[in-house]
Symmetry: D3
Subunit: 135 residues, 6 copies
């Protein structure tokens, strides 16, 4: 019996969108207000979905406490109250768009999640903009 | 890297459900309160999802400002503060159920959206009733 | 022990804003898109608050079932799936702005509510616009 | 034209997680606070999704009133204000995890739903934990 | 400069409504489904509001971490995943209506909060029913 | 007839909490993660409430379009996608706590709002923390 279980989490961070190999004019043209060199920030709302078979013994897909701890360690400790551009190694060369942040979170969780599970990341950057990434 | 990006929007409109080729009695029996000849109305909450590959140069799937402008032009300008039955050409012959409104919105956006994207429409008619249409 | 208990409800309706004693030009100038002669509509989200003393015997301020029934009878039956301008007597001469709708709902409930309670009406016309009226 | 229509509902219930064939120590180790022998409880938020083709005559996928009545009869009447372990036959031998409750709701609705529809159950146990089950 | 700062929290619990000094018939008549002797349960959403003057040195009304810790210790540890009737001393003789639970939470927090603050408790029992208590 | 009308808005910004006249150690001790010298950020959800008498001629308290334009000009243009510490003059010497941001917003709107209205600012810094300021 295949099911998906979801756990919601939350972090906030500062970022700016830009490419080091573009000049200021091109960065401003492409990324607009999100290119502000003094940074701006967001409350990111995260939903992590895990798909697999219900364990007939416990009735759990996964003990959600395990998933909560993975999110705490891999996502919240790494990203919460951080400047993504300056303090998070994955964004040293990678533009921290909401798409790329979702991919980074997927990869960080995938590495430590039991391989029998499929993974799905929903990430809200604002209440009106969000992405879904399934690897 | 395939991802779906979503943008939320909002419009409100009046409508009634009925078929011109049915008599009043049949219209009332099938559509109940929604058949009120004086119209009623809704706040429609819309989520537009676009699926494709992340552009490795920008880190964007699509510049959400482009998507926002498409929604403004194709949906909000056409439907907001309108009487769907009387003022929106697509519903001249088509019953404006939430299912049909979602299909009309899908077709209007699909026509102008870059063809490399898949499209997905979520439309809430009330906080408890909504539909998802993917073409 | 003074407390306020709240009950949420919901109705949807069509309306237009205008004054019969103004010409079309003035109505359009003051009420903009809301003046559309073909009507538009909303999902109205209503929260009814009742203030008084907790009954020491039951631990209730008011049996919320009683409040739910009052809302059903006085508000939902009167306004849901209606055209406020054409079908609701209170708006025969009164412009159905969200402010006036809140006052009408207050008066309808006040009339039948036990007089030991104070009453408070919160009415959302859209997810971003709402009013609070306390008599 | 394939579409999915959703209807939201709500019920609340008491439950505890445990297996009769495990001793208290193992039950406590695996299920933690959820194993409390005096029970705890939740407000369960349910979204029922139905997928099929839009009826070209009515513009409906399904009359949502029919779906609402099915949910009322099969889910709300059976589970609302109940102790799932003691009063709901399906959980006599089955641990009432959110995964298993979703499967039970799926099976109860599937049995009475027109077989041309696919069914999808979303069940929130808390605002942060939920599951999706599609059979 | 007088301001109110709010912190949200969450707990879930089982309860039933009844008075020991009433017979079963009267309890059932007054409390309906909430009187179920096998208990039912809720996710309680709590908002704690604290009013006072902004500290000109820090710009804080209160360090919200202090408020969060008070809520954790006084409310969550005492009520979360509990049977209110059987396991919480305050409800030994007191009917655990949402009104009374709000009063109990107010008293528990008031006792440990710096006395220069006013306190306000908002407690949701379901998404549609809630109370506000200010002492 | 006295009523309060509310309009919601949204902006996001980067900030850090600190006092220039304190050393790093004291700043870190008092403001914790919020003191990160590289900044972090938030989506701020704002609700502006205006209280006064309903205009009997229009049925409006205030044309909400006027209020929307004030919020756009005084708040969104000044704060959205900004670094509050570096780019907003009001926070040159003032710590940008959520309390102080609410006071600054109150003062900016109060200055341009018709003086017959009372003003009320609700500001969410995260989904769980918010303040209300009424001057």
């Amino acid at each position: 019996m295949r099911i998906t279980a979801y756990r919601k989490a939350h972090f906030n961070a500062a970022h700016r969108l830009y490419r080091q190999d573009w000049d200021d004019k091109k960065n401003a043209a492409i990324f607009g207000k999100c290119n502000n060199p003094h940074y701006h920030g967001h409350n990111y709302d995260l939903t992590v979905g895990v798909t697999g078979d219900i364990d007939p013994e416990t009735g759990y897909l996964i003990d959600l406490k395990i998933l909560k701890d993975i999110i705490k360690k891999e996502v919240e400790n790494a990203l919460d109250h951080k400047n993504l551009n300056l303090e998070v190694p994955e964004f040293k060369e990678l533009n921290p768009t909401v798409e790329n942040i979702a991919v980074v979170i997927y990869n960080k969780i995938k590495r430590v999640l039991d391989e029998r599970f499929e993974l799905e990341i929903t990430l809200y950057e604002t209440p009106r903009n969000f992405v879904v990434y399934k690897g």
